[in-house]
């Protein structure tokens, strides 16, 4: 990468860290460290809510998905706006008025310490590991592209983040997120504008070509539990997922607990309700336009340079043969894409059909090349994650490449910072202060909180460094995590019903997790978005039944 791009990246990282540390002045209480004294404006909280949800995986993985699979992933977010409104009249006012530090603290008041400790423990396990994967995903890409050792890639993303979260707490996290969101949106808009300028056909023809390749298919109304992204899984499963994530996951709950009032907390959520779908559409559109761009500029055989080197070294004749076939298929597709652009819109049907066939032929050769890479390297090629970084580094004007890399790091940092702050809060409030040392000075708790943040930060970096060898473990934990996401939502819903007691909530929670586990292993073809519906509904039904039963037993007892 050119030194000007590096200067942009280093300048940005330095500015974020220094400014965040500056904001830590006068921090003396854990209320200030974990909740910014509950005094942040709605717009800053709204931006940090969006920044925490948006990770580097979104910036490089989702854009890459837009290039190879089109816009349909946007359906995943269709349930979000409705979920935000439901939360605005249910969990948000409940938790904000309860004056708690964590969502799980509220559960103890309602259902006792057992339910609180179990939900908090589940959160620590799943988020502790997922925090590592959030760092690992971009670090793997940086390692492959820049030739860095994994340790260095992880350090570049992880250490500045750990530093400003340890020193500045949630105040630093929030104001860093405000800047990060600004950089992310600026970079995305700049890349879209650059693409529209650089693609050698007009925008209408570019979209027509993308549509012919199926990249602009958004809606899938088929009602099947097996398809990951459909309109119905997005609307129903997505609503439950977003209710769980924004309503009960400490990494999001902590964000709106920092707002000045219930109204400001609700308003912060409305920012996501109004802007998440357009933002996600913009992210996918970047991928779609990159796809169109590479119809007119020859792409490499492999986007992942490490895979490219490995195949070339292991089997040179096969590599040359694949490259030759890919070039021939690309040439034909290029001719037909140009033909569509030259033809008036009303007469494009025939060239579009021919183009579709040529695109399928080119895709088939790429599939062969990927299969070869997987055979040589012994692991999944994950080529899709390298499309956007390669485009950014080789095709964007000087400075803009650096801005985009800074935006990818910003996205990783903002997601990790939110998680670290939440992990530390949960550790200190739900375990240390609850079970180990209930009474101590604020100075003591502040010191312990900083140690907890540093511990989780370094643990996340450790997980990230060994992510490749921990691959199957992380997958198991992620899968296990999906078992209780909807179930925890179910417990919070039960907490709002007066007739439910502690036994009902605990048995309901365990039943919900078992139900999702049974579906996951018994019918693995069911898409994961439905797990949240199954979990939440099971918990509520079992919780209500057990509570009624327990009350009946109590009333007949002499």
């Amino acid at each position: 990468m050119h030194w000007v791009n590096w200067a942009v990246v280093v300048g940005y990282l330095g500015y974020v860290v220094v400014d965040s540390i500056r904001r830590a002045r006068g921090l003396k209480t854990i209320e200030g460290y974990f909740l910014a004294n509950r005094n942040l404006p709605w717009w800053a909280v709204g931006l940090t809510v969006m920044a925490t949800q948006l990770s580097a995986i979104t910036m490089i993985g989702t854009t890459g998905q837009g290039a190879v699979d089109g816009m349909r992933f946007v359906q995943f977010y269709f349930g979000l706006p409705v979920a935000m409104v439901i939360l605005g009249v249910t969990i948000v006012p409940f938790l904000h008025k309860a004056n708690v530090f964590t969502a799980y603290e509220f559960l103890e008041r309602r259902f006792g310490p057992r339910t609180r400790s179990l939900t908090a423990f589940l959160f620590l396990c799943s988020r502790g590991l997922s925090c590592g994967t959030i760092i690992a995903a971009p670090a793997v890409v940086f390692s492959a592209i820049f030739g860095w050792p994994m340790l260095l890639s992880v350090a570049v993303i992880g250490l500045p983040t750990v530093l400003y979260v340890v020193i500045g707490g949630v105040q630093a996290v929030t104001w860093a997120d405000v800047k990060q969101m600004f950089v992310i949106v600026t970079a995305l808009v700049a890349v879209v504008i650059t693409l529209l300028v650089k693609i050698p056909v007009n925008p209408d023809a570019a979209l027509s070509i993308a549509g012919a390749a199926g990249r602009l298919r958004v809606f899938d109304f088929s009602f099947t539990l097996n398809e990951q992204y459909t309109f119905w899984s997005g609307i129903i499963g997505g609503t439950f997922l977003m209710l769980s994530y924004f309503g009960t996951d400490q990494s999001q709950v902590q964000r709106y607990l920092t707002a000045r009032s219930v109204d400001e907390a609700r308003s912060s959520h409305l920012m996501s309700a109004f802007w998440k779908i357009p933002l996600q559409g913009l992210i996918l559109l970047v991928g779609v336009l990159v796809f169109v761009y590479y119809l007119f500029v020859t792409p490499p055989l492999y986007w992942n340079p490490a895979a490219d080197r490995a195949v070339a070294a292991a089997d040179q004749p096969a590599y040359i043969q694949l490259e030759r076939e890919a070039q021939a298929a690309w040439n034909l597709r290029y001719e037909l894409a140009s033909e569509i652009a030259r033809t008036p819109p009303e007469r494009r049907a025939v060239p579009r059909q021919q183009f579709r066939a040529a695109d399928s032929a080119y895709t088939a050769i790429r599939q062969q090349a990927l299969a070869k890479a997987e055979q040589v390297t012994g692991g999944p090629a994950r080529d899709v994650n390298y499309i956007i970084p390669q485009f950014v580094l080789t095709q964007l004007p000087l400075g803009l490449g650096g801005l985009f890399i800074a935006a990818v790091i910003a996205a990783a940092m903002s997601a990790v910072a939110g998680e670290l702050s939440a992990l530390s809060t949960c550790t200190v409030i739900d375990f240390y202060r609850r079970w180990v040392r209930p009474e101590a000075s604020d100075a003591h708790f502040l010191k312990v909180s900083r140690v907890a943040t540093a511990f989780w930060g370094l643990a996340a970096c450790g997980v990230a460094v060994f992510a490749a060898s921990l691959g199957s473990l992380i997958e198991v934990v992620n899968r296990f995590g999906s078992f209780f996401y909807g179930s925890i939502l179910g417990v919070f819903l039960l907490a709002m019903l007066k007739r439910v007691n502690a036994a009902g909530a605990f048995v309901g929670l365990v039943a919900g997790m078992l139900a999702v586990g049974a579906v996951s292993f018994g019918a693995p073809q069911v898409a994961f978005l439905w797990y949240n519906v199954i979990g939440a509904v099971t918990v509520v039904v079992v919780g209500l039944v057990v509570s009624e039963f327990a009350r009946g037993v109590e009333s007949v007892r002499p």
Partner: protein, 31 residues
């Protein structure tokens, strides 16, 4: 139902419908 809910829900639904309409336009105009 709270006043906030009654006031906000139609606005959020309207925004979502506009987003869907734009996405549908993209899909049906160019597919």
């Amino acid at each position: 139902m709270s006043g906030w809910f009654k006031r906000i829900l139609p606005r959020v639904l309207a925004a979502e419908l506009v987003a869907w309409a734009l996405l549908a336009l993209l899909q049906y105009r160019y597919n």
